[in-house]
């Protein structure tokens, strides 16, 4: 599902070159649940951004869902992103739309036939246990609920790959556990999951394969 080969990402800061990722190589098979762990600034977010072509690597090869990401033309990027669900630390819900509309927005943007939208939105909301809050606005939800709504939005287009960038970062322990349980449930249904987190303890808790990034280098691949 994911393949990185000798990937470098170097940023320029004046005349200095700062490597955000240095010679990173790994593979994630279809149906795997992988934790990408490392302290803040280790390069986790940069790595995820390479996967959904928000950034281009300075060097190396990136393959996602059978696509050579670097060679994609501008008009091909949406095709790649349709195969990826993304959730961030902040839920990034649209404040002026209800939970239902936030989730339905994805399907409407992608031109899904109208008759399919409602059942798929409710199916997705049910999967994250939020169907009772369909008509609530984001401001009326707890942070945990907002993150669940974001998960529903990421899943509604049924992507084969889910990228989660610190999805529990803003949550207390109970809410964070709920989200992790949901991620595991999503994985059990066949979605490949790559979870980025700064909490190394999470890796132990999930007992899944863990990649550890430090200062842009992949220092450990275990599990």
């Amino acid at each position: 599902m994911i393949q990185l080969q000798s990937v470098w990402k170097v940023y320029s800061a004046g005349s200095a070159k700062v490597p955000a990722l240095a010679d990173v190589s790994f593979q994630v098979a279809k149906g795997e649940f992988v934790v990408l762990a490392g302290p803040s600034g280790a390069g986790k977010t940069t790595l995820l951004r390479l996967l959904y072509r928000d950034e281009l690597p300075t060097e190396g090869e990136v393959q996602v869902a059978g696509r050579e990401v670097i060679g994609l033309r501008r008009w091909q990027i949406p095709q790649l992103r349709r195969a990826i669900g993304i959730v961030f630390q902040d839920a990034r819900l649209l404040p002026g739309r209800t939970v239902y509309d936030n989730v339905a927005f994805v399907l409407r943007v992608l031109g899904t036939p109208r008759r399919e939208i409602t059942p798929r939105v409710f199916q997705s909301l049910k999967a994250v246990g939020l169907q009772a809050k369909a008509q609530a606005f984001p401001a009326q939800l707890s942070q945990g609920e907002q993150q669940r709504a974001a998960l529903a939005r990421a899943l509604v287009k049924e992507p084969p790959l889910l990228l989660a960038d610190e999805p529990t970062g803003n949550l207390d322990e109970v809410m964070a556990d709920e989200i992790l349980e949901l991620l595991k449930e999503i994985w059990r249904r066949g979605t490949t999951v790559l979870l980025a987190t700064h909490r190394l303890s999470l890796a132990g808790q999930l007992k899944r394969r863990t990649l550890i990034l430090e200062l842009g280098r992949l220092v450990k691949d275990e599990g």
Binding site: Y52, R81, F105, V106, V109, K157
Partner: protein
């Protein structure tokens, strides 16, 4: 179909959110197309007058002596064969006197007191289209002057052409003023849409992340601009029509007297469609410019 519905509903949403900036964009388009419309209407009617005057243009040949009845046909044939003559009518001395009497009306008896008929026989020439220009008429008069029977020739198009020149000047001024206002309108639409763009930056980011194509992301902006332009043009057209109907009773007799037009015309359906389309185009350009900024 559902994608089109989404694009249209997003455009409508943006239009409602545009608020005062959106309204001022529409007003500027109204103003620019209204000003352009006023000049266009004036030019349109002046143009009709010029065409009418050109059609009515006549060159009159006054003859030295009235030809004998048997010689009239021969003379007419000779003149008819001259290049630039479309139609020809002979007016004998007696007919000219009758016409004068009719024109004098109540004072017609004055003519009866004349010892002899002083009016010359004449020929009224309708120039062909190619001769109905100042140069064409001058050349025609020169050719007609060559006949020995001719005493004097009257007629010319200089004054008609002067009016035509005024019309061209009016067109130029109208286009200049319209272009300046159109530029302001485009900038206003661009500003309105750039603000709408800022308001939906989050939405656009999410659209990109979930795999929406750029066309789906940007099309609502273009439609919003076009809708603003179209609305502005419709208001301008409505205003122009209202002004036309209100001023018509006072202006029409004056126009009839000075320009000789029986009625003042408003835009035809295709011209109205062109004005509305022009508004849509102005708005679309504004929308595209806003797109350019956001794409940077």
């Amino acid at each position: 179909m559902s994608l089109l519905g989404f694009v249209l509903s997003e455009a409508g949403r943006d239009l409602r959110r545009a608020g005062r900036v959106g309204v001022s964009a529409i007003l500027l388009i109204t103003l620019s197309l209204g000003a352009l419309g006023v000049f266009w209407l004036l030019s349109l009617n002046l143009g009709r007058a010029v065409v009418q005057w050109r059609e009515r243009l006549r060159v009159v040949i006054y003859l030295k002596n009235e030809p004998t009845p048997g010689a009239v046909d021969g003379l007419l044939k000779k003149v008819e064969s001259v290049e630039g003559v479309q139609r020809l009518r002979y007016i004998g001395k007696a007919e000219a006197l009758q016409t004068l009497k009719r024109q004098l009306g109540a004072q017609a008896s004055l003519v009866d007191q004349l010892p002899t008929n002083p009016l010359p026989a004449s020929m009224e020439v309708t120039p062909a289209a190619e001769a109905a220009t100042p140069e064409g008429t001058r050349a025609l008069i020169q050719r007609l002057s060559a006949f020995p029977e001719v005493e004097e020739i009257q007629g010319g198009t200089e004054w008609v052409e002067r009016v035509a020149q005024w019309r061209r000047l009016l067109d130029g001024v109208g286009l200049g003023v319209g272009a300046l206002l159109a530029l302001a309108a485009i900038l206003a639409v661009t500003t309105a849409i750039t603000l709408a763009l800022d308001a939906r930056r989050e939405e656009m980011e999410i659209m990109r992340l979930v795999g929406a194509t750029e066309r789906v992301i940007r099309l609502p902006l273009l439609i919003q601009g076009m809708a603003q332009g179209f609305l502005g043009a419709a208001v301008a057209l409505g205003g122009l029509y209202a002004a036309y109907r209100l001023t018509l009773p006072g202006v029409e007799p004056l126009i009839s007297l000075t320009l000789g037009l029986p009625r003042v015309a408003f835009f035809s359906w295709p011209e109205m469609a062109l004005l509305l389309g022009g508004g849509g185009l102005l708005g679309a350009v504004g929308g595209l410019l806003a797109k350019g900024r956001s794409a940077g």
